[in-house]
């Protein structure tokens, strides 16, 4: 059975399928979901693939339940995932918060489509970027990826599992409809070339174990159900024993750490691609499917001897703030095409405002910018 675990070789598959294969390769053995365009192919592939590798697929009654079920299975010691799109992502916000508060490793794939509400079920958007950051109530630490190809859907899903296990939180893969449905070559490496990380286990005996006392990296080792540690896990503000404590001090300590464990480890988490930013007057900041057109626009500008580069965040959260600040020392303007009416552009502006200008190229969804659209923006700022 196990030779089916990792489908080493070259494939022609879409981003959704690649994400499912990434999950299986990362060791995901439990998937709970609810069908929704344009993420359904992930559930379909998982329903076929998980039984082949001894895992469990369950189609829940809704996304509230899907999110709840993957948290439960994660506490049973399994690597778990769900996949959805905007309307379902909205329903998941409640238990996404529970996952953050209880420091539960798991992965949520959100294939973004046009919103709000039912919006454009079959067409692209990047409207959930801020939802992944602030959609659940309260202050949280967040990790989210914005892949731009089926290959990256595969790679980022594995990375998402690794980071969720390392930092103990739900990690989001923010695909968009184009990336999810686009079919391209995907290379699946050999098993030994895929680096995997699993949650740290407590080294002490149950009597000496404080389930929410962190190690130096601010992450506590995790004892799962049935391991004899009798852990209490609650979404209420709790102390290091896991017991509810309802006061400001406990809130500061717990939620402060939950935010800080991502903030202070941001350097280890953040990934981005940079193209010809050195000496550039204008830098395009683009992510997901749009970044592909951004690259083409940069090529067009360069062909006309303009000094233009591109920064493509692969982790949209944590946001590469430091890098942008640094770039702003030399760059005149940043051009931000995104398929929403301004979400990441404001993040960019926040980082660069004291030195450079930011131009938002918005699009409400349904299709993405052409390279010419972005090139026009570049010319405006050069």
């Amino acid at each position: 059975m196990n030779q089916r675990e990792i489908l080493t070789g070259e494939h022609f598959m879409n981003g959704d399928e690649a994400s499912a294969e990434g999950a299986i390769a990362a060791g995901c053995r439990f998937f709970a979901g609810y069908p929704i365009t344009p993420a359904t192919e992930i559930a379909e592939r998982m329903s076929r693939r998980l039984p082949e590798v001894g895992g469990i697929y369950i189609q829940m009654e809704d996304e509230l339940a899907s999110m709840g079920a993957i948290l439960g299975a994660s506490w049973a010691g399994v690597k778990t995932m769900t996949a959805t799109s905007g309307p379902g992502f909205s329903l998941m916000m409640e238990n996404y918060g529970l996952g953050v508060m209880t420091e539960t490793p798991c992965v949520i794939v959100d294939i973004m489509r046009g919103g709000p509400s039912t919006g454009l079920p079959t067409l692209v958007s990047q409207g959930d970027v801020m939802q992944s950051r602030w959609g659940t109530h309260g202050d949280i630490g967040v990790i989210a990826f914005t892949p731009s190809s089926p290959q990256e859907m595969f790679d980022c899903t594995i990375k998402a599992f690794n980071l969720s296990e390392q930092f103990r939180l739900p990690v989001v893969v923010l695909g968009d409809e184009i990336v999810g449905h686009m079919t391209e070559k995907v290379v699946i490496p050999k098993k030994e070339d895929i680096k995997l990380y699993s949650r740290r286990k407590p080294k002490v005996k149950p009597n000496n174990y404080l389930p929410f006392a962190p190690d130096d990296d601010l992450v506590p080792p995790m004892a799962c159900a049935g391991e004899g540690y009798n852990v209490h896990v609650t979404g209420l503000t709790h102390d290091e024993r896991g017991y509810p404590v309802i006061n400001a001090e406990a809130q500061e300590k717990l939620v402060g750490r939950i935010v800080d464990k991502i903030r202070k480890n941001a350097n280890k988490i953040i990934e981005y691609e940079e193209i010809k930013t050195r000496g550039s007057d204008v830098v395009v900041v683009a992510y997901g499917s749009v970044s592909r057109c951004g690259k083409e626009a940069v090529r067009m500008a360069r062909a006309e001897k303009m000094n233009v580069g591109l920064l493509r965040p692969l982790t949209i959260w944590p946001f590469p703030e430091k890098r942008l600040r640094k770039l702003s020392e030399k760059v005149k303007a940043f051009v931000v095409p995104e398929v929403n009416y301004g979400q990441i552009a404001f993040e960019v502006e926040r980082c660069v405002a004291s030195n450079s200008q930011t131009l938002l190229l918005p699009k409400m969804g349904g299709d993405i910018h052409t390279p010419e659209d972005i090139f026009k923006g570049i010319k405006e700022m050069i």
Binding site: G77, V78, A225, N230
Partner: protein, 303 residues
């Protein structure tokens, strides 16, 4: 009155439990099942939750099941706090979602015995959809619902089991919505074991919980319980003791009764007993038969 808030403000013991040491209050036979330093609990005197939890502990003890493989999952509410007192792997989740969480826990590690302990509002209003689907799938978990006919934790609002005509903080003119008959809902949804007891029936309740713990499949137990602080006061039901007397006078034990007859009326009789106990393959049994056997060519329904 929002009890959730006032209690955390006015119950200093709750914040200062660190000062309690074993020995300050002597050993009790069930101490080893409770988390040290968490007692006294937050529940009002006369509340049915203490008896409900104690019956669960006694049932667990008698079942002989290994404690380390037993988990309790709660939602939010006064009943939801059960998870915080039991010295087991215990999960206090979000309002209405303990059943999906428990489903994941059980399917993630089938060795575990998983029991959901939650309130009527949690399990049948906000979480009603999860209940019927988990029962339909016959996920191998136990669900214990403490039915106090209202939302105790938030100060006593109307809920899906509130008696017709009853007063709550949000039905000042009396409740005009029909109530759920929980055993009927459970049986209709596919539960393999369905029983109802009141907190007066401690021994029978314990026996039922033990049966559920040892039985495979989706088992449901409703516990009719007094909430003197919120529901009792507004409906002139008296103290917790008065309610226990009422249960004594008005409970009718009838095993195998048609659950359709188990409806509850304010001031009426309370039909209790074991209404359903049958064998059916669980979600995991079906998954094995339906998927794994087909894959390995061992039968099942091939196209």
């Amino acid at each position: 009155m929002d009890i959730e808030r006032s209690r955390d403000r006015f119950a200093p013991h709750y914040l200062e439990h660190e000062k309690w040491k074993l020995g300050d209050y002597g050993a009790h036979p069930i101490d080893k099942y409770l988390r040290p330093g968490r007692i006294p609990h937050i529940w009002c005197s006369g509340c049915g939750l203490g008896i409900s939890m104690t019956c669960f502990i006694s049932a667990l003890e008698e079942s002989g099941l290994p404690l380390d493989k037993n988990c309790v999952v709660s939602g939010i509410g006064c009943t939801g706090r059960v998870a915080g007192y039991l010295k087991l792997d215990s999960y206090h989740t979000t309002h209405g979602r303990p059943i999906p969480f428990a489903t994941g826990l059980k399917l993630g590690n089938p060795e575990l015995t998983v029991t959901v302990f939650s309130g009527d509002g949690d399990l049948f209003a906000i979480g009603g959809n999860h209940f019927i689907h988990a029962a339909r799938r016959n996920v191998d978990i136990n669900v214990i619902c403490v039915n106090n006919f209202n939302y105790g934790m938030t100060g006593g609002q109307v809920g899906p089991t509130t008696h017709l005509k009853a007063r709550t903080t949000t039905t000042p003119y009396g409740n005009f919505e029909q109530a759920f008959n929980l055993p009927h809902v459970a049986v209709a949804s596919g539960a393999v074991y369905v029983a109802r007891w009141t907190t007066l029936h401690a021994r029978r309740l314990k026996a039922s919980i033990k049966e559920a713990l040892l039985k495979k499949g989706f088992c449901f137990i409703e516990i009719i319980a007094p909430c003197p602080t919120a529901y009792g006061r507004r409906n002139r039901l008296g103290t917790g003791l008065n309610e226990m007397k009422y249960y004594k006078e008005h409970s009718v034990i009838r095993h195998n009764a048609d659950p359709a007859e188990a409806e509850l009326v304010l001031g009426g009789d309370i039909l209790v007993g074991k209404f359903r106990d049958e064998e059916k393959p669980t979600f995991l049994d079906m998954q094995k038969e339906g998927t794994l056997d087909v894959m390995s060519g061992k039968g099942g329904s091939k196209k």
